[in-house]
């Protein structure tokens, strides 16, 4: 697929690292000078910007956490006065007060370019008709994809979030070739095609660029086969920009190319904060290298991934991060075993007849953790042979035990009783600490 900015995306690593260092030093000089929040942090550590003499030295800098952005609500972390800011977005605030981010004219230009890279990597060109099913509003996804799609010269249809029927009607009538939305949008559209009896052949859809929530490979294959598209993943995080941080190339779909000329990524041990070597899974930490309105140093994303700096056969030299399925705060400890909802999802999805939707309920009885897993199975399986049903149930129980060390009660439920969720963590019902009020 075409590489949007070959000079940067195929740049030799030594050159890229020099560029990253130059930008890192410049952004540090600016934050030290104009963001009192960071100036205080530097002073507490006895640190001057010029102490950062190499990319490795970035670990001398303090972390920024979500709470810092909340405390600074709305404008304390801005490096420039509002008159330089041309756009303001915010996170939803679903898990606390919202966090606010601003963009200068240059920030917006960079943002468009970075999303254009992600879209091109996923297969989109100026000949595509791109339908955006992200919701337009304070969140960054819709506007980010909108600008990026315009940047590549595609035709943009800003449908915004809407009922699957409406999406399908526009998709068919406007001859949409690419969908940008959440994986659940794509699933709902795919399922609605069947439901409303719309023939796949009446659509022109070829690509789907999905993101903003984790979606396992099983969901990808389902979307790809039902919609007849090539679906690529991308990583978005509004605190550092929104979409445009990284995206998969259509050739390999094996890791998301990070736009490293704008984002310096590290992987740390979430418990100790120590930087981990390449290839190790840990928490992703991002430093913005070019952001003018709100530069962020060492932002702890709470997303778990690993980074592979080796060049990709697509020609890009930009390092690739593994797809994100779990967050540091999703981790469950059940009977002393550490596990993530995404692992459970993956294990369940490997069994024939099992739908991707499940719920996990943890309770404590007499100091012992008790787990119940409810999982949707296809109507055909439920209506069919009882022997097969029991075998499936046993197989699932055995797999959870063998692969994850999880002993659980298993309940098979009808399709659509649990349904899709925005984030795998919402599949967990933890009753152990309800009195304490934490989780």
């Amino acid at each position: 697929m075409p590489i949007w900015n070959p000079r940067i995306e195929t740049m030799p690593r030594a050159e890229l690292e020099q560029l990253q260092l130059e930008r890192l030093q410049a952004v540090l000089n600016r934050t030290w000078e104009s963001v009192p929040f960071y100036r205080r942090r530097f002073e507490q550590l006895g640190l001057m910007p010029e102490h950062i003499r190499s990319l490795e030295d970035v670990r001398l800098l303090p972390f920024t956490v979500k709470e810092d952005l909340r405390t600074g609500y709305p404008y304390d972390l801005f490096a420039l006065p509002l008159r330089e800011v041309v756009r303001i977005h915010a996170s939803s605030g679903a898990t606390g007060s919202p966090t606010v981010v601003g963009y200068t004219k240059n920030d917006l230009r960079n943002w468009s370019e970075l999303v254009a890279r992600v879209l091109s990597a996923g297969g989109a060109t100026k000949d595509d008709v791109i339908q955006i099913s992200f919701s337009y509003g304070l969140l960054t996804d819709a506007f980010g994809f909108h600008q990026g799609a315009e940047e590549i010269g595609a035709s943009v249809i800003p449908v915004s979030a809407g009922a699957p029927e409406q999406q399908i009607n526009i998709m068919r009538d406007f001859r949409t070739t690419a969908l940008a939305g959440t994986p659940s949008d794509a699933l709902r559209i795919a399922e609605a095609l069947e439901e409303f009896g719309v023939a796949r052949s009446s659509l022109h859809l070829r690509w789907a660029m999905l993101g903003s929530a984790p979606w396992p490979e099983s969901v990808r294959s389902r979307i790809e086969s039902l919609l007849g598209v090539s679906a690529t993943d991308n990583y978005a995080i509004s605190e550092v920009m929104g979409p445009g941080v990284s995206g998969e190339c259509e050739e390999n779909k094996h890791g998301l190319h990070i736009n490293e000329d704008h984002f310096l990524c590290e992987i740390i041990d979430p418990d100790t904060g120590e930087v981990l070597p390449p290839g190790t899974t840990g928490e992703l930490v991002i430093t913005t290298l070019t952001k003018e309105a709100i530069p962020i140093l060492r932002y702890r994303t709470r997303d778990l991934t690993s980074v592979d700096p080796s060049p990709c056969s697509c020609g890009r030299t930009l390092a690739r991060m593994a797809r994100v399925f779990s967050r540091t705060d999703d981790m469950l400890i059940i009977g002393g075993v550490k596990l993530f909802p995404a692992q459970i999802e993956q294990t369940l999805s490997e069994v024939e007849g099992v739908e991707p939707h499940y719920r996990l309920i943890v309770d404590q009885v007499g100091g012992v953790d008790r787990v119940e897993v409810q999982v949707e199975v296809s109507g055909a399986l439920l209506a069919g042979d009882i022997g097969l049903l029991l075998r499936t149930q046993n197989l699932l129980r055995q797999k959870l035990q063998d692969e994850l060390g999880l002993s659980a009660e298993l309940k098979l439920v009808e399709s659509r009783t649990i349904g899709p969720v925005e984030h795998p963590s919402q599949r967990i019902v933890d009753r152990r600490r309800t009195e304490g009020g934490e989780r």
Binding site: E22, Q25, A26, E33, S54, R83, E84
Partner: protein
């Protein structure tokens, strides 16, 4: 082509450069802009060997040049046009130009001097007209052209230009800034220091903004022109008056 990494440099006890990193690719025009005393000239002097970096590294075409004496740096293909031009006032224009090629070997000179001279004449026709005039009798603009011409005579790969517009009439500034992009046709790369940020950004591909010995911004000329802090601080836009006197 040129890479400077985290360079620190001092004049006595005064730190002139604080961790300056920059790079120049072959064929580019890169500008360093910033106020007086920001470290622009110190950066050039550190590259050309007139000021030794205390820490950090400088490499030119894959070779470490940090701390090399100026004459070695010149031989590697870096030529600096100093801010105050430093011409030989009592020599003719032509002799000043020939001195620019003094470090080339005798054999090299014979084959190339005429060609080099021809190219300087072509770039700045007024110098040809004044070839036999004493350098001291030239106007400021002509002297600057001569200083640039002399640097070109050494057949550099990278030219370091320090404040070429300083003290010149607008018309002379235009002549010189029109000539700089044409160096590229000769395969020459330019690192340009300018207080006249607008003129510099007009011809540069990229630029770095320095403040008190630190790089505070890096970007394409277009990006920097759109940066309102740059506009206000270096391009003389009246934002401070319009907005901040309230």
């Amino acid at each position: 082509m040129l890479t400077v990494t985290s360079a620190d440099a001092y004049y006595g006890n005064v730190q002139a450069l604080k961790g300056v990193s920059l790079h120049v690719n072959e064929g580019e025009i890169v500008a360093l802009i910033g106020a007086n005393g920001a470290g622009k000239t110190s950066t050039l002097r550190t590259i050309s060997g007139l000021l030794a970096p205390q820490r950090g590294s400088i490499s030119f075409r894959g070779r470490a040049i940090g701390g090399l004496p100026p004459e070695r740096v010149v031989r590697l293909g870096i030529s600096q046009v100093p801010e105050n031009r430093r011409l030989f006032a009592s020599l003719t224009v032509r002799d000043n130009l020939l001195l620019g090629a003094y470090h080339l070997s005798w054999r090299e000179k014979r084959s190339s001097l005429t060609r080099e001279l021809g190219q300087v004449w072509e770039l700045f026709p007024v110098l040809k007209e004044r070839a036999h005039q004493l350098a001291g009798t030239l106007s400021g603009g002509e002297q600057q052209m001569l200083a640039i011409g002399r640097a070109l005579m050494s057949r550099p790969r990278l030219m370091l230009l320090d404040e070429p517009s300083l003290g010149l009439a607008p018309r002379a500034v235009r002549t010189i800034f029109d000539a700089i992009p044409r160096f590229r046709e000769r395969g020459l790369t330019v690192l340009l220091v300018e207080q006249n940020a607008r003129a510099a950004l007009r011809i540069a591909n990229r630029a770095y903004v320095l403040e008190t010995g630190r790089v505070v911004m890096e970007g394409s000329s277009q990006e920097l022109l759109d940066q309102r802090e740059v506009q206000r601080a270096y391009l003389g836009r009246g934002y401070r008056q319009v907005w901040e006197d309230e």
